[in-house]
Amino acid sequence: MLELIWLLPTFPLLGFLSLVLTAGKLPQRVVAIIGAGSIGLVFLVAALIASQFLDSGAEQFVFTAWSWMSVGEFTPGFTFYLDGLSLVMMLIITGVGFLIHLYSTGFMLDDPSYSRFFAYMNLFVASMLMLVLADNLVLLYLGWEGVGLCSYLLIGFWYQKPANGYAARKAFVVTRVGDTSMAIGLFLLFSQLGTLNIQDMLHAADAQWAIGSNYAVLASLLLLGGAVGKSAQLPLQTWLPDAMAGPTPISALIHAATMVTAGVYLIARNQVLFELAPDIQLLVAWIGLATLLMAGFTAMTQHDIKRILAYSTISQIGYMFLGLGVGAWSAAIFHLMTHAFFKALLFLGAGTVILSLHHEHDIFKMGGKRKQLPVAFYSFVIGSLALAAFPFSSGYFSKDEILLAALALEGPGIWLWAGGVLGAFFTGLYSFRLVFVVFFGESRGHHDAQEVAGFSMATPLFILMFFSIFGGWITIPVESVFSHGEAHVEHHVSALLHGIMIVVPLLGIGVSYLFYVSKTFSVEKLMASSLAQGLHKFWFSGWGMDRLYDTLFVKPFLWLARINRNDLVDWLYALIVELTRAAHGLVVRSQTGSLHWYALSVAGGLLLLVFLGVLL
C-alpha cells in the first residue's frame, strides 16, 4: 500500500501532460475534471498512505521508484522518503491543493486560458510533492526549481499585461539569488560529505562536524539563503507582494499555503545541520523576527487587498522562521499547517471579493459589504481571527507554541518573545483593519455587486473555515522527526505572560475597531503630522527595500551594461575574426586563377622537397 507513494507526483504530472498536449482543445468541463480530479485522486492516495503509515507505527518509509542517473558511486534516484514531516507536508499540499483546485474550477470559469491554468497548477503540485517527498537533495532541488518555474508561469499567467510579466520576472530573479546560494550549499555538502541522500548526509554531518565548525556554519548559511529566497524573508522578500499579479487561487496555493513554506520545510528537514550551527539557527530566528515586524508594519499601510494578505503571509512565515530559530521545530511546522488553512481561506475569500466586485483590489473602494458578500465575510472573519491568534482558533495554538518556545530560550529569548508579541498586536490590527474596511461602514463603491460563489467556490471555503477554527486540535506526527534537539517547552510560564499573549492580539483588533468602525480615533488626524506621513510612505513602500535594491543592484548593473554596450570582451573575438580575415586576404592572393601560377607553385614545392631531401 505504501508503495503507491510513487503515484503522488505521477497523477498531477499526467494531468499536466494531458492538459498541455491537448493544447486547450478540451471542453472546460473535461479540463476541470482532469485538473481538479487528478489532485483529488492524489489526496485520496495521500490519505490512504497516511493512515497506513500512522497505523504501521514506522518512523520512516523509503521507496525507490527508479534510478535517475548513475555517475560512479553517485546514484540519485526518484526515491521517496516518507516520515512525519513529509507526511504533514504531503497532506497539506494535496488537501489544501485540492480545495484550491476545486475553487479554481469556479473562479477561472471566464478565463480563455482555463486549460493552461490547470496544466500549470498540476505541474506545480507534482513539483511540490517531489520537493517534500524527496529522499535526496538532487530530487529536492528538482522539485524546488519546478515550483519556482510554476510560480513564475502562474504569476505571469495574464501575460498580456506587461506589469504581470515584470512581476513574474522579478519573482524568478529574486528567488534565483536564493536558489543559487542553495545550489552552492548542495555542492559544498556533496564535496564534504560525499552524499546527497538527506538522511545519510545528516548522519555524516553529525558524525564529522563539531558544533559550530566552519563547514556546518557555511553549509547551513547557504541553505538558509535558499530558504530565505523561497519563503520571501528578509532580505529577499521583495518578490512576494508583486507576485500577487497572478490569479488569486495561485496566491492561495503557491504564495500562501505551499511553495513559500518550502523554505521552512528545507530548514526543518535539515534540522541536524542547523543545530550544528547554533549561530545560524539564531540568525534564522532574528530573520524571522525582523521579517514579521517589517511585514506587519507594511501590511498596515497597504490598500490592495491581496498585498495586505501577501505581507501578512511574509509576516506569518516570519513566525515560522522564529519558531525554527528558537528550536520549536514541530511548532513551526504546526504553524505552517494552520497558516496553510487560514491563509488559503483568506486568499480564496479575497478571490471571491475580487471576482464579485469585478476585479476591484482597493479596499477603500469597498466598504459595508457584509450583507452583499456573506460567504466572503464569514471567510474573512474566521480567517482573520485565526490569523490574529484569537483564543482557541487554529492560529492561536501554533503561534502560542512558537512564542512560548521563544520565551524559553536563554539569552535573547525574551527579546524574540517581545518582538513576536508586538508582531501579534500588529497582526490583529492589520487583519481586522482589512475586515472592517471591506465589510463594515458605508459602501464606497460597487453598491449592487452580487456575490459570485457557486458550489465549487463555496465548498472549499466552508471546509477551510472549519479547519481554520478547529485545525488547532490536530496533532501532527512530527515528534519522532524532531525528537533529538526539540526545545522542551515548559508550560510553567506565569499567567501574566500568558495573559499578555492572549490579550495583545485582541488589543490590536480593538484598536483597529476604534479606528475604522467606531471612528473614535481618526486616521486623518493621525496622518496630519508630517512624521506620520513619512512613516506611512516608508512603510507603504515595504521599507523602501525595492528602491534600495534598485539603487544597489539594478542601477549599477544597468550602468555597467551601458558601459559595456560595445562588449569589451567581444573585442578579443573580433580581433580573432579580423586576423583570420587578414590571413585569408593574404592566402587568397595565391589563388590567381592562373594555371601557370599553380604549376609554378607545384614546381616550387618539388624544388623545396628535393632540396630538403638532399640536405637531410
Binding site: S590, Q591, G593, S594, L595, H596, A599
Partner: protein
C-alpha cells in the same frame, strides 16, 4: 671511351627532359602545348624507371613504365576532351581565359 652506358647519364637525360617539359608547362599559354609538355614530363619519369630497371636487371621498372603509359593515355583522352569542350565554349585555347577559380 667506356663501352657501356653510364647510368648517371641515363638519369641525367631523364632529368633534362623533365625540366624541358616543366619549362613548356610553365611558359606556354596554349593548352595543347601544355598538354604536350606534360607528355614529355611523364615520358621522362618513365625513362627514369627504365634506367633503374636496367640498373638492377629487374622487370619491375618496366611494369612501372607501362603503368605510366596507361596513365598518360587516359590523361590525354580526358585532357583532349576537355580541350574540345573549352574550345567550343570560349573559342580559344588560351589557358589564361580559364581564371574563374581566382579567389
Amino acid at each position: 671511351m667506356p663501352q657501356t652506358i653510364p647510368i648517371e647519364h641515363g638519369l641525367m637525360l631523364a632529368g633534362i627532359l623533365f625540366c624541358l617539359g616543366l619549362i613548356g608547362v610553365l611558359t606556354r599559354r596554349n593548352i595543347v602545348f601544355v598538354l604536350m609538355s606534360l607528355e614529355v614530363m611523364l615520358n621522362a619519369s618513365g625513362l627514369a624507371f627504365i634506367v633503374a630497371a636496367s640498373r638492377w636487371g629487374h622487370a619491375d621498372g618496366q611494369i612501372m613504365f607501362l603503368m605510366i603509359l596507361t596513365l598518360a593515355a587516359a590523361e590525354v583522352a580526358v585532357g583532349l576532351g576537355l580541350i574540345i569542350q573549352m574550345y567550343r565554349r570560349f573559342h580559344t585555347t588560351d589557358i589564361n581565359v580559364l581564371s574563374q577559380m581566382k579567389g
